[in-house]
């Protein structure tokens, strides 16, 4: 891609990796401006003081090169706010921007799913790239607490007429925290249930995947589970898997994005695009995220490991 002046939409989070992509762009002199979604945690968060400290650390990063002096705007939100606010903020951010860079690294699914859907419909958008920065390590304990009841993600309720009597399928990607999938399985009669196994998965994820299977096998007969290996990072290939599974199956599907974020991104792109008439997305939003969700930015000999997925190029949606 030719160098451009990008407008980055990202998240002011607690994780060290949340500005990695934006910093790379700024270093290369390609960052025009940024909008940072600052999500205020619900009252009573047990890690409130830690969150405050970590966010102050992140905000300090904005005051030193290469980010200092750049026009960076903060957009305040509440995690569980009505989703029209997310939509309005996205529209405001997209206004007048032809080249957008959506960094989903630290954005909760409740935000990046509707944001991406709105951006895909924004007229005048020439380029849209989605980025995701890998962390060096993840917290040992739980990554989040207190999931809520299953709900359709904003803007991803079914556009289709529901089938009767358990005729909808479920496609769930699983990962580090899959307790929400268990809740969805417990409360519904979806069949078949396709489980997207991320592969190759690093050891902690690998173990958790099998934990999920052992646990899920208590709720439903293993024969009703269909396992499908998918790449952790290759969004186009996961998109193809979803398209193959759902297209022409003659039924509608509920997608449950619990695995690695690039897999969720593929679900989002499919359900917002060609699968809109047959795929809805259901999720159990956690109420509290672990302030120390991850640490560091994964790096290799070439530098920080940041994946960039071109979604719209020269006005053409590559996933439509």
């Amino acid at each position: 891609m030719a160098p451009r002046d990008w407008h980055v939409v990202s998240c002011l989070g607690t994780e060290e990796r949340c500005f990695a992509a934006m910093t790379q762009l700024a270093t290369r002199g390609q960052l025009d401006r940024a909008t940072l979604v600052n999500i205020v945690e619900p009252e009573g968060h047990p890690g409130a003081s830690e969150i405050k400290r970590l966010k102050e650390d992140r905000e300090r990063e904005l005051t030193v090169p290469p980010l200092s002096g750049l026009p960076i705007e903060l957009s305040a939100h509440a995690l569980l706010e009505p989703y029209h606010k997310i939509v309005e903020a996205t529209r405001a951010a997209a206004k007048g921007s032809a080249h957008l860079w959506l960094d989903i690294t630290a954005l909760p699914k409740r935000f990046f799913f509707p944001m991406l859907k709105i951006l895909l419909r924004t007229e005048g958008l020439e380029d849209l790239v989605v980025t995701y920065s890998m962390a060096e390590s993840y917290a040992d304990g739980d990554l989040h607490q207190d999931i809520q009841s299953p709900e359709f993600l904003p803007l991803f309720a079914p556009d289709f007429r529901e089938q009767r009597g358990g005729a909808e399928g479920l496609i769930a990607s699983i990962g580090f925290e899959s307790s929400g999938v268990i809740q969805i399985l417990d409360q519904s009669d979806y069949a078949p249930v396709t489980v997207l196994f991320s592969y190759p998965a690093p050891p902690p994820f690998f173990g958790r995947n099998w934990d999920f299977v052992r646990y899920a096998a208590k709720s439903i007969a293993v024969g009703q589970l269909d396992f499908q290996g998918v790449s952790v990072i290759d969004v186009p290939s996961v998109f193809d898997v979803l398209a193959t599974k759902m297209a022409g199956a003659g039924k509608s599907y509920i997608c449950a994005p619990y695995g690695p974020k690039p897999v969720s991104l593929a679900m989002c792109l499919y359900a917002a695009g060609p699968g809109a008439d047959r795929a809805a997305v259901m999720y159990t939003q956690p109420k509290y995220y672990n302030p120390s969700y991850s640490s560091g930015v994964l790096s290799d000999e070439a530098g920080s490991v940041i994946y960039a997925y071109p979604v719209v190029l020269n006005g053409v949606n590559r996933y439509d």
Binding site: P42, E43, G44, H45, P46, A48, L80, E81, P82, Y83, H84, V87, P114, K117, I118, R121, D142, Q145, D146, I147, Q148, S149, P150, E151, F152, P154, L155, F156, A157, P158, D159, R161, E162, R164, G165, G166, S179, G180, I182, Q183, D186, S188, D189, Y190, A191, Y215, K218, S219, I220, A221, Q224, T284, K287, Y288
Partner: protein, 672 residues
């Protein structure tokens, strides 16, 4: 199914759903509790209350046409006789899966009346959804004449559908929105188009709802009533057939307060209350909800009037029905029916006689002395020495320990409690045996202490233990059977592969299965909404209960595997009350109202962990004597110690946890 292949676990899948073939569904589905919930199949509105796993969804599924069709296709009689209320058609809405709770996420109208406006649209959406579902129900039934006949659909109704649809579309209740509809299929499409209009708006596929929707908002419940009336007056439905309208997941409205800026939840609930308040004999509503989610004073939309129990609705509380009491023991029979059906479905030879079948497979649970012997094993139990006990008492204890370790532990407790004055070893006095109630109330605690001293895990096995640990929850019961069967299949070198009923009598195999089931349910707490907070609390009190019972060597407090709170105090603390009620509604805690031991005191609420956690925490499942009396401050201290968000020092309750400001909470206070 034959038994030629490797033996399978009849409890392989916990849930029985419509996804299995109709024949299997009918075989496995137990209609047992239908007899205890007969009002569900009579005309009139019913609020069906039950914890997760109580069988609520199973009962509501009887109202779905797919279930009736499954029975017809399997050529089995529908579980409810036509004369007993079996003649009905059902329609319904699931508030989550329909997207109804998206209302309020995107403003429809500006201005101060936004919440009221949203409620009006919410009612309109429900009307269209339910009437469409009613028409789809008709379609499903008409595709299976036997099912249609059982439901009370008049033969030949198929020929009058278009006429009916055309007339229904012209009814005033639609305010002209469906004018010009001339066919049944066309009416379904028009109804669906309206639903799609809403969905497109909430999915931001369209910028406005459209003037058509804004101008023609129907009144909550009215089109449903009109449809029901017309079905009968046009001769499609028999006059004696009921229309049951299911509204499921009512409790989810309670969560909207947290997600939205305005008080939508109360407004949306009031729409549903209004439907019930119509008291239209043509339609009977069935509201499925978790315990404590139904408000004490359900206000109706557009008025300050509230629904009245018995006048506007009845409450059918499955937990109350199934929980064993002095006068009622429904659950064991229900469980045995489920057990028998599962075995028969898996290909085992079982008769029609249900009683005793769980015992036949799992055997009886060990008696207390047998349990004590298991804990002692080949190692002798040596009673501790106490300086205040004379030599002859020590000798008596040693002798007792040889004969019955359980008696010895009870004797130690008695001596610590009452001293040695009234004990005459020479005369053979043994009040810890003779005082039957004293003994009975302390046996479980004595076994806990004995197992702890012998460094053994308490054992759970046999039919009585399985039923007790189920806590009147059918899902827990099936899960226990599943785990025991798994353990049996793992342990047996060559499990029986014939169709003969197996006899799973190895106590250690059963105990292993039960322990695994207990671990599963403990872990499962996390998977429910707000489950991490509940799990922290459960872990905290589970450990407290065990410690209290273990260190109380006088056995003065054998009931301290639960706690009791003053009802008035609890009522005043909304945040704490809702936390405990939510725990009860998810089946994690069991709550009961009880009278106080203190003269003139308020009624109290006692709380126990659900019995299935007993093996995990190694505490007795039975409840004897008084639970521990505690105050609100104690509870708040435990919650803070457990690290439950919202109860930590310095934390401020969330918006929905603060006391109401002039509005009634959607969640009732739970006073019995």
């Amino acid at each position: 199914m034959t038994m030629d292949a490797a033996p399978i676990n009849p409890f392989d899948s916990l849930y029985v759903t419509e996804t299995i073939d109709p024949e299997s569904f009918v075989s496995v589905f137990s209609p047992f509790i239908v007899h205890d919930t007969s009002s569900l199949f009579q005309a009139g509105n019913v609020v069906l209350v039950g914890t997760q796993g109580s069988g609520k969804s199973m009962l509501l599924s009887l109202l779905k046409p797919e279930t009736r069709v499954a029975y017809a296709r399997a050529e089995q009689a529908f579980p409810i006789e036509p004369e007993a209320g079996g003649r009905f058609i059902g329609a319904g809405v699931n508030l989550t899966r329909s997207g109804a709770i998206d209302f309020g996420q995107r403003p429809i109208a500006d201005g101060p009346d936004n919440a009221d406006a949203a409620a009006a649209y919410f009612g309109d959406f429900l009307n269209y959804w339910i009437v469409e579902d009613l028409l789809l129900t008709l379609r499903i039934l008409l595709d299976c004449p036997a099912a249609a006949d059982g439901a009370g659909v008049v033969p030949g109704a198929e020929d009058h559908l278009d006429e009916f649809a055309s007339e229904l579309a012209r009814e005033d209740c639609w305010l002209g929105a469906l004018d010009g509809t001339s066919s049944f299929a066309g009416l379904i499409d028009r109804l669906r188009a309206r639903i799609t209009g809403y969905r497109n708006f909430f999915n931001y596929n369209s910028e406005t709802l459209g003037s058509e929707i804004s101008r023609h908002k129907t009144s909550a419940g009215e089109p449903i009533s009109v449809s029901a009336g017309l079905l009968r007056s046009r001769g499609l439905l028999r006059d004696d057939a009921n229309l049951f309208v299911r509204i499921d997941q009512y409790e989810e409205l309670g969560r909207l307060d947290e997600w939205q800026e305005l008080d939508y939840a109360e407004g949306f609930a009031s729409v549903i209350h209004k439907m019930l308040g119509l008291r239209d004999p043509r339609v009977s509503y069935r509201i499925g909800t978790r315990r404590h989610a139904w408000p004490e004073s359900p206000r109706m939309q557009g008025t300050t009037a509230v629904l009245e129990e018995l006048r506007n609705f009845k409450i059918v509380d499955l937990d109350d029905i199934l929980m064993p009491s002095e006068h009622r023991r429904s659950f064991p029979k229900f469980a045995e029916d489920v057990f028998r059906r599962r075995l028969r479905w898996a290909g085992y030879r079982v008769g029609t006689e249900t009683q005793g079948i769980v015992r036949e497979v799992f055997g009886p649970s060990p008696r207390p002395n047998e349990r004590a012997d298991i804990y002692v094993g080949s190692r002798r139990y040596i009673p501790p020495k106490a300086s205040e006990w004379p030599e002859e008492i020590q000798t008596l204890l040693m002798r007792t320990a040889e004969q019955s370790p359980l008696d010895c532990v009870l004797a130690e407790a008695y001596l610590r409690q009452r001293g040695t004055e009234d004990i005459d070893p020479a005369a053979g006095s043994q009040p810890w045996i003779d005082r039957q109630w004293w003994r009975k109330e302390r046996t479980a605690q004595a076994l806990l202490q004995l197992a702890a001293r012998q460094r053994q895990r308490m054992i759970w096995c046999g039919a009585e233990d399985v039923l007790a640990l189920s806590g009147a929850n059918i899902l827990v019961f099936v899960s226990l059977c599943q785990s025991i069967w798994d353990a049996y299949l793992r342990a047996e070198e060559s499990p029986q592969s014939s169709s003969a009923l197996p006899s799973i009598r190895d106590r250690y195999v059963q105990d292993e299965g039960i322990y695994q089931a207990s671990r599963y349910w403990h872990r499962k707490v996390r998977t429910d909404p707000d489950g991490d907070s509940r799990l922290r609390f459960v872990d905290h009190v589970g450990q407290l209960f065990r410690e209290w019972l273990r260190v109380d060597t006088r056995m003065s407090y054998p009931g301290h595997n639960g706690f009791s709170l003053d009802g008035a105090e609890l009522r005043a603390d909304k945040q704490l009350r809702e936390f405990l009620q939510q725990a009860a509604s998810y089946g994690v805690l069991v709550d009961r109202s009880h009278s106080t031991r203190n003269r003139g005191g308020n009624r109290r609420h006692k709380w126990y962990l659900a019995p299935i956690y007993s093996p995990y925490f190694q505490i007795p499942a039975s409840h004897v004597k008084e639970p521990k009396y505690v105050g609100i401050a104690d509870l708040r201290k435990w919650l803070a110690e457990a690290g439950v968000p919202g109860f930590l020092p310095g934390s401020r309750p969330g918006r929905r946890d603060r006391e109401d400001e002039g509005q009634e909470s959607l969640f009732g206070t739970g006073e019995d």
